[in-house]
């Protein structure tokens, strides 16, 4: 347990409210290895984002803590870069300047000016955004903005890349493109990633492990699913793959049978051609 790269150790959090304190999370334990891709999945309001924010240091856990490479971390820092759902680019800086801001902050002492410049360009070309360096975020599409958001985080060379529903606000086609890009980059750089998602297909496609959370209040980890699909993964081939379908079923079962939450049905990738899962998504909505 102690040799894990990132350790979420008996984390719980309570929020102050007007009445009694609200316990959002309880007893979250999760060791993560270096280079692992972890997805957190669960119904809306179960506290997935809270977990991520605690790892990022944006929230303080009430009990327990986060240990990164043997050291406890409890405030935000560039070693745990966050990709926000709504890209969170500074609208008054160009694509280049947005990444540059992060690079300057992290490498001011270790890189020269030209090295920093090259590093910005390198990371933007990783996400295929080197053609729009001098555009403002308002002038590019949602998918492009999220690419820049990812480039900004990659450029910080974080120990852990935290992604808060990074593709949630995008249309299905753009989302697929970005998932492929992310897989490719992660395959190349071997980043340790913790990603929150609502999308079952996305979780199975990208992750090494899927962490499924129970419903709140006092949410915790329900089950952990090891996804042992060989990499590189191809979405077209996997669509028919029995293992993939099996993993998908496991997650859906957890979400719709064990943690039924009729108030907020999950978004399920309905473009899937798999009849069986179509059926399960329909029954989930009906429930």
């Amino acid at each position: 347990m102690n040799n894990s790269y990132l350790l979420i150790s008996s984390v719980g959090i309570e929020f102050e409210t007007d009445n009694e304190p609200f316990r959002a999370l309880q007893d979250i334990n999760l060791p993560i290895q270096k280079g692992e891709f972890i997805s957190l999945i669960g119904h809306s309001g179960c506290g997935k984002s809270t977990v991520l924010n605690i790892v990022a240091g944006l929230y303080q856990a009430t009990e327990g803590g986060i240990i990164l490479e043997g050291k406890e971390v409890n405030e935000p820092g560039p070693d745990r870069a966050v990709v926000f759902q709504n890209h969170a680019l500074l609208p008054w800086l160009t694509v280049y300047q947005n990444v540059e801001l992060a690079v300057k902050r992290v490498f001011k002492k270790t890189k020269t000016k030209t090295e920093m410049h090259d590093w910005v360009l390198h990371n933007l070309s990783l996400v295929h955004m080197d053609h729009a360096l001098h555009k403002l975020p308002g002038e590019i599409s949602g998918g492009m903005k999220q690419r820049v958001g990812i480039a900004r985080c990659l450029a910080m060379q974080p120990k852990v890349l935290l992604m808060d529903e990074p593709f949630g606000a995008l249309d299905a086609l753009t989302r697929a493109h970005l998932q492929d890009s992310l897989m490719e980059i992660q395959g190349r750089l071997g980043n340790t990633v913790v990603m929150i998602t609502h999308d079952v297909d996305e979780a199975v496609l990208l992750s090494d492990r899927i962490v499924m959370m129970t419903n709140g209040p006092a949410a915790t980890i329900g089950e952990i699913l090891d996804v042992k699909l060989p990499r590189p993964r191809d979405r077209l081939a996997l669509a028919e793959d029995p293992d993939f379908i099996h993993y998908r079923q496991q997650v859906l079962k957890f979400l719709y049978e064990k943690q039924k939450n009729p108030a907020s049905p999950l978004s399920i990738n309905s473009s899937s051609k798999n009849g069986e899962t179509e059926h399960s998504s329909v029954s989930a909505d009906a429930a």
Binding site: L58, G77, A81, V82, N86, A88, R105
Partner: protein
């Protein structure tokens, strides 16, 4: 033959295209010029007819024609005064030159011309005063607003003071400001006139609040995600303010500045009337006291000038905002 036909067709297309353009242009002209012009003409007609029915102890209430006459005479007076001034300096130079020719060691005196301030001199004085007061206020108010927006504690401690002083008419401050300025500003060779400082500080006192309040609101309503980006990057407070806080708050800061400048300009005129400090307000008061048959017309000219200048000041701030703001697409009104 076919080529010619094609060309002809092409020409036809062009002319149709330009017809459309002309129509579009005309429609734009109608919207941008004709309607406002119609509004102004109707207003002038109404004004003239109402004015001719009001008789005061100083004669007829000035209609548009009377105002036009008076504005011409104000221009003429201004030109006359400039001629006099020029003549004065020429005479003085001549006299000094003569003195020096007689005796190279002679002490010569140069006096500045102290003729009557014309309408246009008063406009300049007022503009100068309002900009001084406004800049002084902005210099304090913007940083204060940013501090209030960033720190709940600063806001909680300053807010009661703002709330109490905000509704006070700056004219209530005027006597106090006058006394304080004459007590504290006692230099032998003053760079500023005391009356100038009094008016300017009064303007400052009323320009503070809208800017402080709007800047605070602008700073507190920064997108949470951007603040989190700053926290993840561990930006230092000065960099945080420069790269995140100020750009996000710029629209609200400018809203505050424009409100401040508009009230500052209104208050300045009143302060000048009340304190008899040089400026447009004094011009109006002097004309009122003068009580000639031209007075009402001249006051009306001043009223229109005040409105026009207030409008131009606001446009100036808008242009400045357009220049400074990152969001060139934003529609500013």
């Amino acid at each position: 033959m076919t080529e010619v036909k094609a060309l002809f067709r092409n020409e036809q297309w062009k002319s149709i295209f330009s017809m459309n353009q002309i129509q579009l242009f005309l429609r734009q002209v109608l919207k941008a010029v004709t309607l406002p012009l119609a509004g102004i003409i109707i207003f002038l007609i109404l004004w003239q007819s109402v004015a001719s029915n009001i008789t005061t102890s100083l004669g007829q209430f000035p209609g548009p024609t009377e105002v036009w006459e008076q504005s011409k005479s104000l221009v003429a007076e201004h030109k006359q005064e400039r001629v006099k001034e020029k003549a004065f300096y020429e005479r003085q130079e001549e006299r000094n030159a003569k003195k020096l020719a007689k005796n190279p060691d002679a002490k010569i005196k140069t006096r500045t011309y102290t003729g009557k301030a014309t309408f246009f001199d008063q406009i300049l004085t007022s503009l100068y005063t309002v900009s001084f007061g406004f800049f002084a206020a902005s210099f304090i108010a913007v940083p204060l607003g940013i501090a209030c927006g960033l720190s709940e504690k600063v806001y909680q401690s300053i807010n009661p003071i703002i709330q109490i002083f905000k509704p006070v008419s700056p004219l209530a401050w005027l006597p106090l400001v006058t006394m304080v300025v004459s007590a504290l500003y006692t230099s032998d060779d003053p760079y500023f006139d005391k009356s100038f400082l009094t008016s300017a500080f009064t303007v400052t006192l009323c320009c503070l609040w809208p800017t402080v309040i709007n800047t605070t609101v602008g700073v507190t309503s920064i997108d949470r995600d951007l603040i989190n980006v700053s926290r993840v990057l561990q930006l230092s407070p000065p960099v945080h303010v420069r790269t995140i806080v100020i750009p996000s708050a710029i629209p609200m800061i400018f809203t505050g500045l424009r409100l401040s400048l508009a009230t500052g300009w209104m208050v300045l005129i009143a302060a000048e009337m009340l304190a008899q400090n040089p400026g447009l307000g004094k011009f109006i008061w002097d004309e009122f006291q003068n009580g000639s048959s031209n007075s009402l017309g001249r006051i009306m000219v001043a009223v229109l000038a005040i409105g026009l200048i207030g409008y131009l000041l606001d446009r100036l701030m808008l242009a400045l905002q357009r220049r400074i703001s990152w969001d060139k697409q934003a529609i500013l009104r």
